[in-house]
Amino acid sequence: MHDRAEVAAQLHPWDRALTVDQELAREFEARLVESSTLAVRVAYSVLRNREDAEDVAQEAFAKAYRSFTQLRDRDRFRAWLVRMTWRMALDRQRSNRRRTVREDHADTWLPASGRSRPGEADLQVGLEARERAEHLWRAIDGLSEKLRVVIVLSGIEEHDIREVATLLELPEGTVKSRLFAARQQLKDALSWMTQDRSTR
């Protein structure tokens, strides 16, 4: 059986270039498939909107593709993807907020009949689950960014401390202490849930 390098060496330089291209494309495809959920969830944790999250994740992958030759290592790729997605999601969130403020301002000039009535369709969804999720997100938003990113990454795909440390390129000890602090704050903030359950 021929070694891959041997086969590549026997090829014409042009064919060799194509082969390398194909190999890189194949590697990128593998990264895309295995990291798409990660990227979408990271973006969703910031934006709380599936469409926006997918848009941001898509742009992050496009950026990753442009610099893929420097990101071929799996861990490096995923760490870069998390950072890039998080940053782009925060940018999108800021611009969304600005747009919402503008639209709210514009809405005040519309006749009452022209205004949409948000939330009507959502009433079909379980109100309780929605309320709980809202409280959880509010509690997560109350965390500092350092704690927030750690708790979000540990909650995504059940990453353990070592994996989160690799993704954030931080020492494991730092991740561990941040995760502990974040969980503690969340537990305190969501203690009403246990009260609610116990009194039911």
Binding site: S36, I151, S191, M193, R200
Partner: protein, 201 residues
């Protein structure tokens, strides 16, 4: 809901469940296809070329540019060339090289002849080497330029203007008196100043 009920912190398992349900969003089935389409719309650039450019060629190109700059600019500076900023007009200024020859000043125009013969210079220069004398009008007044031009022409033709000869003659007649030079001895530093190295000027 009873607001007066006991409050207990969430257990780890409960918190994990809440996080999982909040973050457990899956990308839509068409997400991957959308990303692939988006990447296909990226400007055509070979990944292989990217790799080569990023790793090997870039430093070589930078080295080549630096080499060319050094090869062109440094020799110019070594030759003493002055780089003129674009848009600055340089007025050509004639450089007159004067050979310093220890010759005593002649008292008249005729005394120049033996010196000229000794130096191998003809008495009369019929067609002197024409060096266009261009003195910058900014640095030289008009009358100075004319006077200097006349002087250069006279020297080139083997004659010195009368005024110069007269001035030289008067200089010969007047004795040169040089006052004796007196040098004051250097003040001696005190022993303390010497040791401490203090100097007050």
């Amino acid at each position: 809901m009873d607001d007066t009920g006991p409050q207990h912190p969430l257990s780890d398992a409960q918190l994990d469940r809440e996080l999982e349900s909040a973050l457990g969003i899956e990308p839509s089935p068409e997400f991957l296809a959308r990303v692939r389409t988006r990447i296909a719309a990226e400007p055509e650039q070979s990944l292989w070329r990217q790799a080569v450019w990023g790793r090997g060629v870039q430093p070589l190109v930078v080295a080549a540019i630096v080499g060319v700059v050094l090869a062109v600019v440094v020799p110019r500076f070594m030759r003493g060339g002055v780089v003129v900023a674009p848009g600055v007009h340089r007025t050509p200024v004639t450089q007159v090289a004067v050979e310093a020859t220890p010759v005593s000043p002649p008292s008249s125009a005729n005394d120049l002849r033996p010196i000229r013969r000794r130096l191998g210079v003809p008495d009369r220069v019929e067609s002197p080497r024409t060096v266009p004398l261009q003195l910058s009008p900014v640095l030289f007044a008009e009358e100075d330029r004319v006077a200097f031009g006349m002087f250069v022409t006279a020297v080139a033709n083997g004659r010195i203007p009368e005024t110069v000869v007269q001035a030289l003659g008067e200089a010969d007649r007047a004795p040169l008196v040089i006052a004796p030079l007196e040098i004051d001895p250097l003040p001696l530093l005190t022993a303390r100043a010497q040791t401490e190295g203090e100097t007050k000027w």
